[in-house]
Structure formats: C-alpha cells, structure tokens
C-alpha cells in the first residue's frame, strides 16, 4: 500500500529510460509518451484520492526505518502539486509534437521531459532534505538539457548563465545541509523539525534558515535573486518554457513553504517579517519588468515574478487563511503560467515574431487562441470568478486582518499592473485592423489550441469549482500549521 508513494517518481523515470531506446522512431516515441503521461495522470489522481480518504502515505525506501533511511512522504500538499504537475505535463506533451521540430524531438526531448517530471515529483514527495537536493539536481540536469535543445546562438549564451546560477545555488544547498547536519545531526525533515525545537542556541539556526531561504529563493526567483530568470526562460522552445515557467520556480516556492512551516517556525518575527518585505519588492520589480518590454515572451516571463511575490506574502503572514491563499495561488499559478507560455509560443509560431509592435488583428485569423488568451489573462490578473481571484482575495483579506496595509496596497497595485500588461498584449496583438495579406494557418492553430484549451478548462475549474477545491486547500493549510502531524506521521513512535 505505501509503495504507491514511489509511483509518481518511478513511472516517468522508467518512461524516460525507455523512450531513450526507441528515440529513433519518432512516431512511436510520441505515442508512447502521450500514453505514459495519461497513465501517470490517472495513477497520481488515484493516489491523491486514497490520500484524501485515508491520510498521508509514508514510504520508507529500502525498508530502512524512518530517521535513518530516506522517506517519501506523500501528504495532501505534495500529491495535489504532483497531480497539477502531471496535468501540465499532459498538455505539454500534446503541444510538443506540434511545436518541436523533428530534429529537436530526436535529441531526446521526451527522455529529458520525463526526467524533469521525475525530478519535480520527487522534490514534492521527498521527506529528506538531502534527498530534496538530489531531486533538485535531477530536475536541474534535465532542465539544462532541455534549455539547450536546438542550440541557437542566443540560446546557448543564456543557458550558460542559467546553469551557472543554478549550480552556484546547488553548491550552497549542499553546504547548508551540512551546516544543519552539524547542528541537529540528521537530514530527515521530520526529525530536523523535532530537534530544532530542542536546540538551545537559536542564533545559528536562524543563520541556517536564511541561507536555506537564499537557496530556495534563487530557484523561486524572489527579489533580488530573480535577474537570471526572464531572459533564460524565453530562449528555449515554447513547450520547454511552459514547463519551466509552470514547474521550476514553483518547486522553489514549495520548498520554502515546506521548510518554513515545518522546520523553522520558532522565530516568526524575524524570518517571516523578512519574507513580507521581500514579497513586496518581488511584486513591484517583477511587474515593472513586465511593463518595460514589447517582447511578448518576455512579458509573460516577467509575470512569473510577481506571482512568486504573492505566494511568499502568504507564507510571510503565516496564518491559516494566508497559507491557504498561498497554496491556492500556487495551484492556480502553475496552470495559468503553463497556459500563457503555450499561448505565447503558439502566437510566436503563427506570426513569426515576438515583437508586440509588429502584430495586430490576430483575433480575425485565430479567434479561438485569442479568446483563450483573454480568459487566461483575466485568470492571471485575478478577475472574479477565475482562480487567481480566490488566492488573491484570501491573501489580501488576511493582510488587512494582520494590519499589513502596505503590502496589501502593493499587492492591489501589482494586480492592476499585471492586468494592464496582459491587456496590452491583447489589445495590440489581437485587436486592430484585419490584415488580409496573411493567410491564417488554421490546421496548425487548431492543433495548438487543443492543449491550451485543456489547461484553460482546468484553470477555470479551479476558479468556478472553488467550492470543491477550497476545502482541500483549507485542510492542507491547517495540516501545515501543525507540524506535529507531519512529524508524527513520519516518525511514528
């Protein structure tokens, strides 16, 4: 029964290895990847169902008892994120066959795609800090391979920066883990959480907490560590950008959420207050970046950053409602960022340019993509009844309740500016005079529209179906704020 927890890691890993062998037969590998992604989605949904029915699944790998061996902890939060990851994976795999060139597919795209999913799922599921590092490396290694896929001049140039910054933060991660090991003598997250409460000199722990935050903040693109993100996310193929935008920064946010609700909760005044300031700065700088450019890929890419700010704000406020807001926003943002990167990828592929000033009147040629983009923009900006609204409402309400007026105002202004940056794309690219010289490529646009519509539908469900999703999120939030539940479930004495 507990072996279920390893399946979300094992299935994509095996699929990745197998697809490397049949790589030469492009058609076969396509069908194979689509089948495996769908099967994986069904399997993780089933695991999710069992977890919500019967509670967390703990797997002690290799039969080693909890604090000594590596544990996989599939609790409600992890499995919900794994399910969302797999939904995005399914949409991306359908999009990939239309958007990648034959040559790019033959450079083991599917293999690295599955390894990326392995790494992301593993990072969500692991209950061991060093193992988290290992899964970070798994997903980073596959992301390195994916980002250079195709290998253009600019692409390679930006990849180097991406690899270097991630390599640096990974080295720092190892160092911090060894620091923590020397203080508490364990790398099992539950046991760390237990022992942190007993350590008498909290000063060293706060240092470690901030260092660890620095590591995760680099991955999550929090101010001032976001500068590497926008440019490196726009150079690869749209599918790869969508995967990165939807999954990679969110793994960083998830790690912050996990570590700073389970382990480092003894000095909320210092660490969490610090988060609030960073959240505010992240929102402002990100949205200014989005307004500063005419490159539509870059606009979407910059819009990742304010979203990270919103999620960090919820962690900083540290109440039940604000944590649920963060989790809701996290789920919403994974889906909507994936959607937007795919739409923008489709627009760029159809028009041949990413410069906003050279576009216009696209709605006459591609109405479906146009309206999908409109819905996705409203979702991103948080217009009711779409899903961004619910997360933001929870966060801002709680901010007011906690008397953090400054950040609430900044949050509201940011939302408005996000809406402005998205509507600017809609007005300039989609509205305008019909250009009769262009012959629309309807077959191609239809192929692009299906996976996007799938994600938009899911995103709309997150908003309209909040009645079903919100109780789950509320449970998770209560569970996160009571670390003893996590500790007890892992180290069942």
């Amino acid at each position: 029964m507990s072996n279920l927890a390893v399946l979300p890691i094992l299935i994509p890993l095996l699929a990745g290895i197998f697809s490397a062998f049949i790589n030469k037969k492009t058609k076969m590998v396509r069908i194979f990847s689509i089948l495996v992604s769908i099967i994986n989605l069904i399997v993780v949904s089933y695991i999710g169902y069992t977890i919500f029915q019967n509670g967390s699944i703990i797997l002690e790998t290799g039969g080693w008892k909890a604090p000594y061996g590596i544990v996989l902890v599939a609790d409600m939060l992890s499995i919900l994120l794994v399910i969302t990851t797999n939904i995005i994976a399914v949409a991306c795999i359908f999009f990939a066959r239309k958007s990648l060139s034959q040559q790019q597919e033959s450079f083991y795209f599917y293999t690295f795609f599955f390894f990326l999913i392995t790494g992301v799922s593993g990072a969500f599921l692991t209950g061991d800090l060093f193992n988290l590092f290992v899964f970070f490396e798994v997903l980073l290694m596959s992301s390195y391979a994916l980002i250079v896929l195709g290998g253009g001049k600019i692409q390679l140039r930006e990849s180097i920066k991406y690899v270097l910054i991630n390599l640096f933060s990974s080295i720092l991660f190892v160092t911090v883990v060894s620091f923590l090991y020397s203080v508490v003598g364990t790398v099992n997250m539950a046991q760390i959480a237990e022992r942190v409460q007993e350590v008498e000199q909290k000063g060293i722990l706060t240092t470690i907490a901030i260092l660890l935050f620095f590591v995760f903040a680099t991955k999550a693109a929090v101010f001032p560590l976001y500068y590497w993100l926008p440019k490196s996310y726009i150079v690869p193929n749209p599918v790869v950008s969508a995967l990165f935008g939807a999954l990679l920064t969110k793994v960083g946010i998830y790690s912050i959420l996990r570590v700073f609700t389970t382990i480092f909760v003894y000095e909320i005044d210092i660490t969490h207050q610090f988060f609030l300031w960073l959240a505010a700065l992240t929102m402002i700088t990100g949205v200014i970046g989005a307004l500063s450019t005419n490159n539509i890929k870059l606009i979407i890419s910059y819009n990742i950053i304010p979203a990270v700010g919103f999620m960090l704000m919820g962690i900083g406020l540290y109440t039940e409602a604000s944590i649920s807001g963060s989790i809701y926003y996290l789920l919403h943002d994974m889906v909507v960022k994936g959607t937007l990167f795919l739409i923008v990828g489709a627009i760029v592929a159809l028009t041949g340019t990413s410069d906003l000033r050279k576009m216009g009147g696209l709605i006459h040629h591609y109405p479906v993509i146009g309206w999908l983009f409109f819905v996705a923009s409203l979702t991103l900006a948080g217009i009711p009844p779409f899903s961004g609204f619910i997360g933001k409402l929870l966060l801002l309400q709680e901010g007011l309740a906690q008397d953090q007026i400054a950040i609430v105002i900044i949050g509201l202004i940011t939302s408005l500016l996000i809406l402005f940056s998205m509507i600017r794309i809609f007005i300039q690219a989609f509205w305008g005079e019909k250009d009769d010289t262009i012959t629309p490529n309807r077959v191609k646009s239809r192929a692009y529209a299906w996976p996007i519509a799938f994600l938009v539908a899911f995103s709309v469900f997150l908003g309209v179906g909040a009645e079903y999703v919100y109780p789950m999120v509320e449970d998770i939030s209560a569970y996160l704020l009571d670390p003893s539940q996590y500790i007890d479930s892992v180290l069942k004495e």
Partner: protein, 112 residues
Amino acid sequence: MEIITSMLAGILFATGVYNLLQKQMLRIIIGTALLSHGAHLFILTMGKLKRGKPPILVEGVENYVDPLPQALILTSIVISFGVTSFLLVLAYRASLLNETDNMEELRGSDHE
C-alpha cells in the same frame, strides 16, 4: 583537525568565488569546481573527523566514524562531476557559436 579543514574549505570558497567573478568562461568553470570541492570538504568536516576508524556499525566495533556524511559526499561528488562536464561542453559550444568566451560580451541586449 576540524579547524584546519574548515579553514581550507573557507579558502576554497574564497578562491572559488573569486574565479566565479572573472570574465573568462573557463575560469568561471574552475571557480564552480573549487566551490564544490569546498562544499564537499565542509560536509566531511561537519561529520566530525576521527582518524583511523571505520564508518561501519557492527557488533564489536565501538568507535566508528559517522557514515552519513561520506554517503552524502559521494552523491554530491557524482552530481558535481556530471554538471561540470556538461558545463565544459556547453561553454565550448557557446564560445564557438558566439565567437567569444568573455562574459562581458555575452551580456546580450534588449533588442534582439
């Protein structure tokens, strides 16, 4: 002994960061390699250094070295080995295509 190795790790970190801030690509890669050596040495030190003891726990052996840091280092070394070799290839290709290995010239502009 711990103090000496910690200082050595510190020196490795310092030289690593210094190299990381250089403009030439190869130096940057050497910098990351030095940094990872520093980190590995650090893990070893954190598990406490005791000379001549086996890292095993069996009946009869009462004095043993903590085996966990050694396992962690091994994992970490393998990973940094892989990443470094990847980085070397990437840097080679990127400098060939861009016709420079100076990071200053690889900054890129907003209008492309």
